[in-house]
């Protein structure tokens, strides 16, 4: 049965290759779509994942990461005083307009954090490099954003009327749905606070002022003393800071992801295309298995005349389907990783996890086996009399 399945399948090599191409097309499409979905989802919450904070404290009106109301800097000291808080660091996240050295305009998000802190760092930038941000009016940005910024490392443009020099690149830190992330020190971010007035009349102080209690910040990142008691700490924080909302890192991630999922319907769009790919793959595989049975009708008739059981005949077709699935799956996975690597160079994250690979394999098998159903129907209906024709 095994030999017959294999040899009959490979006997017509060109046709087998066509079938394989269909499988590869469908499976690669499925893998890449799933990878894009994963990458997209992960990308939207990248900033949150980069933080080691257990809890994010924000205004209670927060819609998601990038849409919220400010807190005052004075809250930081109050948070630090809450029992159970091991560490608290402020973060500023604000819309900003970047004007490049060659007058390129670009929407950005200024992300101000404490370069000497421990609860946030963009990507894998080291502590020593982070400290460069202590230089006034400097920022880091993701390598994928150079074109959008219209600037090279070392060049300066302006944000909110202030000089802003790009001094270092980060890698794989940019959310693909968000405006360009501009990582700065807290003080610089505070200085960049958008004000129509300052934009018109550039002020160029040598060094931005340290934050005062009345300055506004966006989040307070909290490390808990005891990670097993986050629920209680959240409650304590919300009681201590009126008008605030405390979310665990996971909750913050979930909130942001679900915002983008609903906002973009990307899940639906990607599922639809992946499904179409699977259908095309199934149709081609089904067609080719069916034609293969039709062309070996006399052989299958002979098997039926001999008295081979239906299960034996099914087994032959089933094995052919499994061969196609397995032989199509492996190159598809390699191809998908290749596509992911090429896309990564362009700043598009296609994330193929072990789970994705596993689920895709199951779907590939299912696709081929469902496709084989037609051929199996055909093969059990073969009249043993054809063997004598």
């Amino acid at each position: 049965m095994v030999v017959l399945a294999r040899k009959n399948l490979f006997a017509d090599l060109p046709r087998f290759i066509v079938a394989l191409c269909a499988v590869i097309f469908a499976v690669t499409l499925l893998t890449v779509q799933t990878g894009i979905y994963n990458g997209f989802i992960r990308s939207t919450s990248l900033l949150i994942e980069e933080s080691t904070a257990d809890i994010w404290l924000a205004s209670k009106e927060m819609a998601f990461l990038e849409v919220t109301l400010p807190l005052t800097y004075a809250r930081l000291a109050q948070v630090r005083a809450v029992p159970g808080v091991a560490r608290a660091e402020p973060m500023i996240l604000r819309p900003a307009l970047w004007r490049g050295p060659h007058d390129t305009l670009n929407a950005g998000r200024v992300i101000g954090f404490d370069p000497n802190g421990v609860l946030f760092a963009p990507g894998s930038v080291g502590r020593a490099e982070l400290r460069q941000l202590s230089q006034p009016y400097t920022f880091f940005a993701d390598a994928s954003q150079l074109r959008a910024l219209g600037a090279r490392v070392g060049e300066a443009g302006s944000i909110g009327g202030y000089r802003a020099r790009l001094i270092q690149l980060t890698h794989g830190t940019q959310s693909i749905v968000s405006p360009t992330f501009l990582y700065t020190s807290l003080e610089t971010a505070n200085a960049y606070a958008p004000s129509a007035l300052s934009f018109l009349t550039p002020t160029n102080e040598a060094r931005p002022a340290p934050l005062t209690d009345s300055d506004s910040i966006t989040f307070i990142l909290v490390a808990a003393r005891d990670r097993n008691k986050l629920a209680r700490l959240k409650g304590a924080l919300e009681r201590a800071i009126p008008g605030s909302r405390a979310l665990t890192k996971q909750e913050m991630v979930a909130m942001t992801r679900s915002y983008w999922l609903q906002r973009t319907s990307i899940g639906f769009a990607l599922t639809l295309t992946a499904l179409l790919g699977l259908i095309v793959g199934a149709v081609v595989v089904g067609q080719i298995l069916y034609v293969s049975v039709s062309e070996h009708l006399k052989e299958y008739g002979t098997l039926r005349a001999i008295g081979a059981a239906d299960s034996f005949l099914y087994g032959v077709i089933m094995r052919q389907a499994v061969y196609m699935a397995v032989l199509g799956y492996v190159p598809s996975l390699i191809l998908s990783f290749l596509i992911a690597a090429i896309a990564a160079d362009r700043g598009v994250v296609i994330q193929i996890t072990a789970l994705t690979a596993g689920v895709v394999f199951v779907l590939t098998l299912a696709m081929c086996i469902i496709a084989a159903a037609f051929a199996m129907q055909r093969v059990v209906r073969v009249d043993p009399a054809v063997a004598f024709a």
Partner: protein
């Protein structure tokens, strides 16, 4: 002597829409265990149809067929297939070898279909090819075998599972005279060794000396 096959009052009408064909008319036939029966008759006389009916491939319009004490005309499609697998085998006019499989694999396939494991199937096939003096042809594809060799492989395939009855439809028509006789002789020899009953449908008169008995079919009548 016990009868291997007994057919009682067989009528076979092919229900053609335009004009039904009455291919077998009240055929009764008994074949003894171990007998080699040659069924002769002109083209269209119903030889193949009778083989189909006796082999449980076609259900007769009327009448009963008993093979080895089992009334196969009462069996359903699956049961008939299982019965054939266990007790019957066929040799086809055009050999019907699987093109993509080697001689050895063609023969092993029958044993695999019967649920035999790869190892014993291989050993048994090997022994049979040795008996046939065909060990050199074991790993050749059908397209690299002569007509006579192909039919020998087909005979090996029919006999490897040690069936009770072997049915051959025009086994020599694709062979030259010399090969035709040699192959028929071989079939008789192997069948004798294994005590198998053989039923040959053919209009090749030269086969006659190999048979124990000859029946003549004319226009569906014995």
């Amino acid at each position: 002597m016990r009868s291997a096959i007994a057919a009682h009052n067989i009528d076979m009408i092919y229900p053609n829409v335009v004009s039904p064909v009455h291919a077998l008319k009240d055929v009764s036939l008994e074949i003894a265990d171990g007998e080699i029966l040659l069924m002769m008759g002109p083209s269209g006389s119903g030889k193949t149809t009778l083989l189909f009916v006796l082999g449980g491939i076609l259900s007769p319009t009327r009448g009963r067929v008993v093979v080895r004490d089992v009334e196969i005309t009462n069996l359903d499609r699956r049961q008939k297939a299982r019965f054939r697998l266990k007790h019957l085998s066929f040799i086809f006019q055009g050999f019907n070898l699987f093109k993509a499989l080697t001689a050895r694999e063609n023969v092993e396939l029958v044993l695999h279909a019967r649920g035999m494991r790869a190892r014993p199937a291989r050993e048994r096939t090997q022994r049979l090819f040795e008996r046939l003096g065909m060990t050199r042809q074991l790993d050749r594809l059908p397209r690299d075998l002569s007509g006579g060799e192909k039919q020998r492989v087909a005979i090996a395939r029919a006999l490897v599972a040690e069936p009770d009855v072997v049915m051959a439809d025009e086994p020599t028509s694709a062979l030259d005279a010399e090969n035709g006789l040699a192959v028929t002789g071989l079939l008789r020899e192997l069948a004798r060794e294994r005590g198998a009953t053989v039923l040959i449908a053919s209009h090749d008169m030269r086969i006659a000396p190999f048979a124990n008995r000859i029946v003549q079919l004319n226009d569906g009548r014995l």
